[in-house]
């Protein structure tokens, strides 16, 4: 049980920055999930814009205002517009497709979960000062 507590510790009481960060991070994460999970490509693009805005907010929170504005300028102005244009110019090609994803989805999820878990372990171990750190790259 000790190990489980160490691996998944309880969160502390948030400060103001944390209070801003938590909804922003949640927004960003949800949008990121929507980007890859929503079946509608246009919704993907909108979610991507949301994610990018969220990331810009994270930058602003990290006191990198210039980077935040650049993120909006470059990503939202240019890349999102480009992507939306591309979606609209090639629209109709996915209608009637049996699946939005290919057959390797399961394997990919397995791999990603394993990597995420190991990363989590690494992060937690560093935090809990257990001598189990591994030199990942």
């Amino acid at each position: 049980m000790d190990i489980i507590q160490q691996l998944f510790p309880l969160p502390p009481i948030p400060t103001l920055q944390q209070a801003v960060f938590i909804p922003l991070a949640l927004f960003t994460a949800v949008c990121a999930l929507l980007v890859v999970l929503s079946p509608n490509l246009f919704h993907n693009a909108l979610a991507l814009v949301g994610t990018l805005f969220g990331v810009a907010g994270i930058y602003a929170l990290l006191e990198a205002e210039f980077l935040a504005i650049s993120q909006i300028l470059v990503y939202v102005w240019s890349i999102s517009t480009l992507i939306t244009f591309a979606i609209m110019l090639s629209r109709g090609m996915m209608f009637g497709a049996t699946s939005k994803t290919n057959k390797q989805a399961g394997t990919a999820i397995d791999g990603i979960v394993v990597i995420g878990f190991i990363g989590w372990c690494n992060f937690v171990s560093a935090r809990s000062k257990l001598d189990v750190s591994i030199a990942v790259a």
């Binding site: 190990i3 397995d110 791999g111 190991i118 171990s125 189990v132």
Partner: protein, 750 residues
């Protein structure tokens, strides 16, 4: 004016450019071709005469001749130098040949009408134009020929001399066989080529010996004819194999080079090609046999005179041999000439005879008179040849006229007509003349042959310009006093007499008499008396482009001799400094009236005798009066001593036999079977190797390929071209690697 001398190398260039231009661009248009060819010749002439006259007018020109190298071609250890040279000898040659070439070119442009032996149906366009179908080609050939001659004249080394010499040989072959539809022309061209080749091979051998044994290491005239080099050659001795005689090297070299002259200038053993070469168009005859090619042989002797003179000093037999060949040829050819019916053939033998004169003059050391006679002879012989061509042309036209108006009794031959009698029954039969040929013991007569003098007669009134110029040329040839031929011939006779060469003198005097006689015979049969055939009656005068050259050459034939009179010998004064420049002394004899008187007597006597016999022409069907007097000897003369037949029986037959033997040896039984056997063995071995290759080597290679193929087939499944699969592989590998790395943690945790 001296500046012109350095332009000598340009002299052969215009004609060569004309040749190239005609071959490459103008060969579709006959008029343009003729204009280009004549333009080239005229340019060449316009270069040559200033050069020649600046040489003539220069003070003591012979002592500082112009010689320069243009460029060199590196060949192995030595260089082949290409350059030019102007000295008195080739200044005179330039003077003579360039003028005559222009005249001949102009004459040829008018002469080359549609030939009678061709069918107009075969060449409709050429027939409509009235020009020879290969007119342009002819112009190109004669341009190249002129290039050869001019290049030979200005060349400064024996090697380039020889190269141009061979160019002329090639051109003479092409031109003699120009009308190759005629079997006789084919045969004549091959004969000319092969015969001169015999002489050229000897000459080439001589050239090689000269090159090897000279100190200079090259063949420049200035080097090989220098006194030291000749002295060196004279002291270097060699034992001639077979006859085991030890002589200085200079003698065999001189003899070998002399054989080149024998071939080119048609001296006695190799003279047979020249009369046959009359098969070519008449301008060619004029060019080859009068102005240029045969002169080149004598010019070679003149050029190499120091060598011969040295040879004559250390081995007198050399010069005696040359003199003997020359004198014998002169006499021998003139005897044949008195018994010929063909108008050009008479002139051909006359040429041989006159060349014999020159060679004999060289042989007795009379170097200047030889060149003098060469120049004058070129003029009047060109005149005679061109005149004879004009006569033939006229008679041919007369024949056409007869056919068109039906005056002739006999049925008109279909298609081909004209031409001339064949040398052999085969050739005659080949031309379909059998029905017209009258067999006679003094030579078969073809009634439509425009070259046979028996078909002529009384042409002077029909063709006055041709006739008179021909008569003047004939007088010059026979040495009628005060004409060009008289002075030059007199010089030679005088030198022979003064040098004490009695035998040579005698032979030449007899020959001179015979010359005058056959000239009178020719004139008489052709121009005097009454026409013996219908075609002679209707023969018209030739076109101006043919008669004008005749008229233009005539003054030279008459007056050119005055440059070499015994009292004011300009040519000797011009030439002698040169030979002295080369540290030699030409034969110099005191003037004597005896040879001159003899010369006048034989010339006038011969002419009078000839006029007496032939002055009224022959009656139709009449046998030659001379035959009655000479009897069988006449037949000997007429049949040219049967030398052709003799050659055919010996040399040609031997060649045939030898080739048959060699064929048997090579193709049938010995060489080829061996080669075939080796080949069969090779094939068998190759089959064996092929089997090995197919089974073992190919098997291995195929095995390797098959293995690669299979391996690739297995591995290709991993390369399905989908980027995402590759990416997934990356992720999975990463995962596995991370798991392995994280294993210790889990072990510790658990």
């Amino acid at each position: 004016m001296q500046g012109f001398l350095n332009l000598a190398w340009l002299v052969p260039v215009p004609t060569f450019l004309a040749f190239a231009a005609i071959v490459l661009f103008a060969n579709r248009n006959k008029t343009v071709s003729a204009l280009i060819a004549i333009g080239g010749a005229v340019l060449s002439f316009l270069l040559s005469w200033p050069i020649a006259f600046s040489a003539f007018t220069a003070d003591h020109f012979g002592q500082h001749p112009v010689e320069a190298q243009l460029f060199s071609i590196p060949t192995g250890t030595s260089d082949l130098w290409i350059g030019y040279q102007v000295d008195p000898a080739n200044a005179l040659m330039l003077f003579m040949s360039s003028f005559l070439l222009v005249m001949i070119f102009i004459y040829a442009s008018g002469y080359m009408t549609f030939p009678a032996h061709l069918s107009p149906a075969t060449y409709p366009i050429a027939a409509a134009q009235g020009k020879d179908p290969r007119y342009s080609r002819f112009m190109a050939y004669i341009s190249l020929f002129a290039t050869g001659m001019m290049g030979l004249v200005v060349s400064n080394s024996l090697l380039t001399f020889f190269i141009f010499w061979e160019i002329m040989g090639l051109c003479s072959y092409l031109l003699i066989g120009f009308w190759y539809e005629k079997k006789s022309a084919q045969a004549a061209s091959i004969k000319a080529f092969m015969t001169t080749r015999v002489g050229d091979v000897f000459m080439l051998v001589g050239l090689m010996f000269l090159y090897i044994h000279s100190q200079s290491g090259n063949l420049l005239f200035s080097d090989i004819l220098s006194a030291e080099n000749l002295h060196h050659l004279a002291t270097l001795s060699v034992t001639v194999p077979l006859i085991n005689v030890t002589v200085p090297w200079v003698a065999p070299i001189a003899i070998l080079i002399f054989f080149g002259t024998v071939g080119k200038s048609a001296q006695f053993p190799l003279h047979v090609w020249l009369p046959d070469a009359m098969e070519g168009p008449t301008p060619v005859s004029a060019m080859i046999h009068a102005a240029t090619m045969v002169s080149a042989g004598v010019f070679l002797l003149v050029r190499m005179f120091p060598l011969f003179a040295t040879a004559g000093e250390v081995a007198p037999g050399t010069m005696h041999f040359v003199a003997f060949i020359g004198a014998f040829t002169a006499l021998f050819a003139s005897t044949i000439a008195i018994a010929q019916w063909d108008i050009k053939r008479v002139l051909a033998y006359s040429t041989i005879s006159q060349l014999g004169y020159m060679v004999a003059a060289i042989g007795i050391g009379a170097y200047v008179p030889a060149l003098f006679h060469l120049i004058t002879h070129a003029f009047f012989k060109a005149l005679l040849f061109l005149g004879s061509g004009s006569v033939i042309h006229g008679v041919e036209h007369g024949l056409h006229h007869v056919h068109e108006h039906g005056h002739h009794d006999e049925p008109a031959p279909g298609g081909e007509h004209g031409g001339k009698e064949g040398h052999t029954p085969t050739e005659a039969a080949g031309h379909g003349h059998t029905g017209l040929v009258i067999h006679r013991k003094d030579g078969d007569l073809n009634l439509e042959d425009p070259q046979d003098m028996r078909n002529m007669g009384g042409l002077l009134s029909r063709m006055p310009r041709t006739g008179w110029t021909f008569i003047i040329g004939g007088l010059a040839l026979s040495g009628f006093p005060l004409t060009a031929g008289f002075w030059s011939k007199d010089e030679i006779l005088g030198n022979a007499w003064g040098g004490g060469n009695t035998l040579v003198f005698g032979a030449l005097v007899i020959s001179a008499f015979l010359t005058a006689f056959y000239t009178a015979r020719q004139i008489g049969l052709t121009f005097l008396g009454k026409p013996r055939t219908e075609m002679a009656k209707h023969a018209p005068e030739s076109v101006p482009s043919m008669t004008w050259p005749l008229i233009l050459i005539t003054p030279f034939a008459l007056l050119l001799g005055f440059i070499g009179t015994p009292w004011g010998n300009w040519i000797e004064g011009f030439m002698e400094p040169y030979i002295e420049h080369l540290e030699f002394h030409a034969l110099h004899v005191e003037f004597s009236f005896i040879p001159m008187l003899v010369s006048i007597v034989v010339a006038v006597g011969g002419l009078v005798a000839g006029y007496y016999v032939y002055g009224q022409g022959l009656a139709e069907g009449q046998v030659d009066p001379l035959r009655n007097w000479l009897g069988p000897l006449w037949l000997v003369f007429h049949n040219k001593y049967w030398i052709d037949e003799f050659y055919k029986g010996t040399v040609v037959a031997f060649s045939h036999w030898l080739s048959k033997v060699l064929y048997w040896f090579d193709d049938l039984w010995v060489i080829d079977p061996i080669v075939d056997g080796i080949g069969q063995l090779g094939v068998w071995l190759a089959r064996l190797a092929a089997e090995f290759d197919r089974l073992v080597v190919d098997g291995l290679v195929n095995l390797a390929g098959w293995l690669s193929n299979r391996a690739g087939g297995i591995l290709r499944n991993t390369q399905d071209g989908q980027v995402q699969v590759y990416l997934l592989l990356l992720v999975v590998s990463m995962t596995v690697w991370l798991l392995l790395k994280a294993l210790p943690i889990f072990l510790k945790l658990v």
